[in-house]
């Protein structure tokens, strides 16, 4: 009798809680609840792979379950976010939504992997991860100081091509897969309950916008998105929330200046080298990390716009 009881007690001690990591959550992510049930972990502006916690990531809590929106730049970040979710709600994670394929948003994905969790992304996300995953893992391995195997790249279970509605339990999210803008696989999330529009890297504040898709497409999309009423937006980099559509103005100004000045250089016959030295430097004091990303943005703009008719 006692022996059976002892075995039962031992089992209870040793049996791992479903989904609980072995280290039992030493670190939790600091989050801000920007609206009822919407939590954002702010990033710190730094060059990707040079630093941790660069992007704004977070989660939305429904009556039934939780949707994670981006998982950070490393397993540790994803783990920390997961621990925070555990401390905030008893509901399980049902969806991990990746807003796009950049490493500061997706490398925490493996921390959430378990039965019942569905990964969701733009229809082009899988291809982007397939093409870039190797390079991302190599760079992340350098940062981590140890090799990272291919299991660290998790492809979406559900691909969004157009729109998708998710119900987290009396909480409906509208997911929209956009045509090429910031990247070729941008997905936005709209929470109907609080009228919160999570734009991720379709919107940059403080941190210089990064052009990795189609400059004109991004500008066109921002104009369209400004017509969508929202009580607040969540940018991919910058404050945890901002007023809409006002928050779009800085990104729009940078992108349209980049576009207009690049067009002008192309028209007057400047080559790519000349354009890199002269385009849109008036924006330099308006953005953090300008020197880290601006010239690359010029290359992206120039190599796109030189194909205009």
């Amino acid at each position: 009798m006692i022996f059976r009881g002892l075995v039962l007690v031992l089992l209870l001690i040793v049996w791992p809680e479903p989904g609980m990591p072995a280290d039992k959550c030493k670190h939790r992510a600091e989050v801000v609840e920007i609206a009822a049930g919407i939590y954002v972990r702010p990033g710190k502006h730094a060059v990707v792979f040079d630093s941790e916690a660069v992007a704004n990531i977070g989660f939305i809590v429904g009556n039934r379950c939780v949707a994670v929106i981006d998982t950070g730049g490393s397993y540790a970040e994803g783990q920390a976010l997961r621990c925070t979710i555990r401390s905030v709600t008893a509901q399980p994670v049902c969806f991990v939504i990746n807003t796009h394929a950049h490493p500061d948003h997706i490398l925490g994905n493996p921390a959430f992997r378990e039965p019942g969790v569905f990964y969701i992304g733009h229809a082009n996300l899988a291809r982007a991860l397939a093409l870039r995953g190797t390079v991302y893992l190599q760079r992340a391995a350098q940062q981590a100081g140890r090799p990272l195997g291919p299991e660290h790249i998790i492809l979406p279970d559900l691909s969004v091509d157009g729109r998708l509605r998710l119900d987290l339990g009396e909480r409906v999210l509208q997911l929209v897969a956009h045509s090429t803008a910031h990247s070729d696989n941008d997905l936005s999330v709209y929470d109907e309950k609080t009228a919160t529009l999570w734009l991720s890297d379709l919107l940059f504040m403080e941190h210089i916008p990064v052009v990795d898709g189609n400059l004109r497409g991004w500008l066109t999309l921002l104009e369209t998105l400004k017509d969508k009423p929202a009580r607040r937006v969540v940018p991919g980099h910058g404050p945890v929330q901002a007023a809409w559509p006002d928050a779009a103005s800085d990104t729009q100004r940078y992108l349209s200046t980049l576009r207009d000045e690049t067009r002008e250089r192309i028209a007057r016959g400047d080559d790519l080298r000349q354009a890199q030295e002269t385009v849109a430097y008036g924006e330099r004091t308006r953005w953090q990390l300008f020197d880290s990303y601006h010239k690359r943005n010029i290359i992206a703009a120039y190599t796109e716009l030189e194909w205009e008719d």
Binding site: N124, A126, R127, L129, A130, L131, R132, G133, T134, V135, L137, P150, I153, L155, T180, S183, D184, V211, D212, G213, N214, G269, D271, L272, R273, Q276, K295, R296, I299, A300, T303, E304, E306, W307
Partner: protein
């Protein structure tokens, strides 16, 4: 505490001399390290024992010291001698020591170019020398070399807008300087829409490498006469861009033809009308 200016000057000179010696030795050591691939067999493979003069006086290579984007590194080769019937640059060979497949391209010129300038965008896979070797019509070789800090240009991902690239495959755009003066060298830019895939990008899902698909041959003629031609490889960036000169004597059509590794052939034309 007094000191004489003379003493101070002497010790300063000594310091400068020491620094100079160290700098020279560092350059010599660094130079031989940097050129180890070239001297270790690359030079022999492409040029055998032929003497090569290292000089910027026949052609001068301009390249960024540090690349912003390793997959799109703009370079310029400036010709320092004009193309004349007596003396002209007939070939420029571009070699990127640390790229897989170091021969980035061979570019052919005639006196009709006026100037053998060349503008390109290249992929640079690792820190290392980029070399332009000009062969003049008398068979002499001259090399201009620059060290470029870049990495991953060949294995880096394909471009940012794959859909747009697919729709545009093979499309060509020409642009020339204005005004077009008859008998004067005219700068031409030819862009070809093409992914120019290296075959070195690994697909993370299948763990297989993307199939190489890149331009191999470019030929440009004006009114039926060859003006510019090249054998190229995957070290040219996506959407290969060529900037070169030719001398239009009359109005006419520039005609370009490219062939890629899939055997696909694309053509384009552009009318050139010199001012009266």
């Amino acid at each position: 505490m007094s000191y004489s200016l003379a003493e101070n000057t002497r010790s300063w000179r000594r310091v400068c001399l020491l620094v100079a010696i160290l700098a020279v030795s560092a350059t010599v050591v660094a130079g031989s390290d940097e050129d180890s691939v070239w001297l270790g067999g690359l030079r022999a493979a492409y040029f055998g024992e032929r003497p090569i003069v290292q000089s910027d006086d026949v052609i001068e290579l301009e390249a960024p010291e540090r690349a912003e984007d390793s997959a799109v590194v703009p370079i310029r080769i400036k010709a320092r001698i004009p193309q004349t019937d007596e003396r002209y640059i007939k070939t420029i060979t571009l070699i990127i020591d640390m790229n897989p497949g170091q021969l980035a391209g061979r570019f052919h010129f005639t006196p009709k170019n006026g100037r053998a300038d060349l503008g390109l965008r290249i992929r640079v896979n690792a820190y290392g020398p980029v070399r332009a070797i000009a062969e003049t019509n008398d068979g002499k070789l001259f090399m201009s070399r620059r060290f470029v800090k870049a990495s991953g240009g060949c294995s880096a991902a394909v471009g940012t807008d794959i859909e747009a690239a697919k729709r545009r495959l093979g499309k060509m755009k020409f642009k020339t300087d204005k005004p077009v003066l008859p008998g004067e060298p005219l700068a031409v830019q030819l862009r070809v829409s093409h992914p120019n895939l290296t075959g070195l990008q690994m697909d993370q899902v299948t763990r297989l490498y993307t199939t190489a698909h890149y331009l191999e041959k470019v030929t440009v003629s004006f009114e039926g006469q060859a003006v510019f031609s090249a054998e190229t490889g995957f070290s040219l960036s996506e959407n290969p861009s060529f900037r070169f000169y030719f001398v239009p004597d009359s109005a006419g059509e520039l005609h370009a033809e490219v062939i890629d590794t899939e055997g696909l052939r694309f053509t384009g034309q552009y009318s050139v009308t010199p001012e009266e």
